[in-house]
């Protein structure tokens, strides 16, 4: 089959010029989106004295990373963020896969009520429930603990992910499940053995997104944790005010925090692009 080509933009220009323009625009876009990160990496490689003329210096060092990695609090924050992100991803998917399946496969008042609830709570700004959650967490004795941070992180994804999951299951033909039911499979069996395997690409996409969202989240950690459970984003935001002008250390910390997210996104990219369709 011949490749269908959409009419190109600027059709009146000669092919060479059109190509050059296309390449130029793309290069410009890549530059704009990559530059801040490249600049951060460059800053993190400069010695303390070189920070004030990053664009001119020629000395490079890995000393910033070494210095930052000696900080116990930071290491602890890395560990905590990784742990909470991983657990939150696992449990979020566990509860939202089934909720999205229900939304997709059943019609009627129960389904539409649940959908309405999800939509409303999706809109509520985080601060409106995390702020009072601070009282709740304190009175339950889970303020500044793993569980006190993990549970809200699972709860926050329920609405959006149930919605996305519904979309994924909508795209999967339910006739296989009907066939399984007729063959004597239970409803539960039809869900776990038939529907779930075909939703694996979507689940992988959500897993990548969920991990990134949790790793990058700031407000929850700021309000719900104190000194016992430092999270990486909060520690960095504190650095900005505490370390003031020590931009080389700041940049090194930020680069270290980028690495896990970057690796995950690099390997997970194809799942996200394949799985993410509204």
């Amino acid at each position: 089959m011949a490749m269908v080509r959409q009419p190109l933009m600027f059709a009146r220009l000669p092919t060479g010029a059109r190509r050059a323009l296309f390449a130029l625009v793309l290069a410009g876009a890549c530059f704009a989106f990559a530059f801040p990160v490249l600049w951060l990496i460059l800053t993190s490689l400069r010695p303390e004295s070189g920070v004030y003329y990053v664009h001119r210096g020629t000395e490079f060092t890995l000393g910033n990373f070494a210095e930052v990695l000696l900080d116990d609090r930071l290491l602890q924050a890395f560990f905590n963020s990784a742990l909470i992100s991983t657990l939150a991803t696992f449990f979020s998917l566990l509860v939202t896969v089934s909720s999205g399946y229900m939304l997709s496969r059943f019609r009627g008042p129960a389904s539409s009520t649940w959908f309405g609830t999800i939509y409303v709570f999706r809109c509520v700004p985080y601060i409106s429930w995390v702020l009072p959650l601070y009282f709740v967490a304190q009175s339950w004795g889970i303020y500044d603990t793993y569980i006190g941070l993990l549970l809200p992180h699972i709860a926050v994804h329920i609405c959006f992910f149930s919605w996305l999951m519904k979309g994924f299951f909508d795209g999967i033909d339910p006739s296989m499940e009907h066939a399984a039911l007729i063959d004597g499979c239970t409803r539960w069996g039809a869900f776990v053995r038939v529907a779930l395997p075909s939703a694996i690409p979507a689940i992988s996409a959500l897993a990548v997104l969920c991990w990134l969202f949790t790793w990058n989240e700031f407000l929850f950690a700021l309000i719900l944790t104190g000194n016992r459970v430092p999270m990486i984003t909060v520690v960095m935001a504190q650095f900005v005010t505490e370390m003031g002008m020590r931009w080389n250390l700041m940049a090194a910390t930020a680069v270290l925090a980028l690495v896990p997210a970057f690796l995950l996104a690099l390997f997970g990219q194809k799942y996200v692009i394949r799985g993410l369709r509204i």
Binding site: A29, I127, L131, L133, N216, L219, T233, A257
Partner: protein, 297 residues
């Protein structure tokens, strides 16, 4: 035994309940309950020095609604921010999605680079921007001075600081639009485009008469989700300006946070949080109606 009457709570209902029970329970405990407790706190004098937590009725709501900082700075800031950052990210994201929607050499690399901001935490993005726009040593001022222009104290003036917040947000979210719109573009049927190509239709007409209308449902969903999320932006404002200079770049979430945790007036902070939630719910429901109408049209 009565015949022909279905049990009220049949096997199917039990299954449905089973599927949503864990999610519903978590939602109840960690969103519904806190909101109820916050609503209760918003009617009381819930400050540290008052252990009795006296009932004050609507006082907190009155003081937030009549607070000039809220009315004249925070609300306009929040809505201007919402409009500018969503519009900016949509236009750029759509443009990039259209560019990427045709095979060319190096497409994989370009796509990966464009997705970089998606992995960057808003806090880190804000730190990067703060460093780039640093008035003494930032690269932006260095470039300006190299061009013979004068460096600006970017984060010290209200509107330039606000502009940088918007810019950071657009940088962060454009790839998200690109990703979703690209997925939308690739799932469009090929036939209308083939027909247009045979007829020799101009690029602009293809875009405005075919691509845009067919992509409209995806665009609208993206815009609604992003607009609602933009309303609650906190991280980048906190890290870039902390709401300053003065309180001139505060957005809604920061306003409620400052009241509750810095002024330590949890009652008034809760009232502000609830007012914000009500505002966005009204906007959210209106947007949902709009989506529904457009998707069905």
């Amino acid at each position: 035994m009565e015949v022909g009457r279905r049990p009220l709570f049949g096997e199917q209902q039990r299954f449905m309940l089973f599927l949503i029970a864990p999610a519903a329970l978590l939602l109840l405990l960690f969103q519904v309950l806190p909101i109820a407790i916050g609503a209760n706190a918003s009617f009381r004098d819930w400050a540290l020095y008052n252990p009795k937590k006296t009932w004050v009725g609507l006082d907190h709501y009155r003081s937030v609604i009549t607070d000039p900082a809220f009315l004249e700075v925070v609300l306009p800031n929040t809505f201007i921010f919402m409009a500018l950052s969503v519009a900016g990210a949509l236009v750029l994201g759509l443009a990039l999605a259209l560019l990427l929607n045709r095979p060319f050499r190096g497409q994989k690399i370009v796509q990966t680079v464009l997705l970089v901001p998606l992995m960057v935490a808003p806090v880190i993005a804000a730190i990067m921007m703060r460093w780039m726009f640093n008035d003494q040593f930032g690269i932006v001022n260095a470039v300006l001075e190299g061009l013979g222009l004068e460096g600006q104290p970017w984060l010290v003036e209200r509107w330039s600081a606000f502009g940088i917040i918007v810019l950071t947000d657009i940088w962060l979210w454009t790839p998200w639009f690109t990703l979703l719109l690209l997925a939308g573009l690739q799932s469009l049927p090929k036939e209308p485009f083939e027909a247009a190509a045979i007829d020799g239709t101009s690029t602009w007409r293809v875009f405005s008469h075919l691509t845009l209308p067919m992509l409209r449902p995806v665009i609208v969903v993206c815009v609604v989700i992003r607009a609602i999320d933009a309303f609650r932006t906190f991280d980048i404002v906190w890290t870039l300006t902390g709401g300053g200079p003065g309180r001139s770049t505060e957005l809604f979430s920061l306003y409620a946070y400052v009241l509750a945790f810095l002024s330590l007036d949890l009652g008034r902070g809760s009232a502000a949080a609830i007012i914000g939630a009500v505002i966005i719910l009204v906007v959210g429901v209106a947007l949902y109606r709009l989506v529904d109408r457009i998707a069905k049209a």
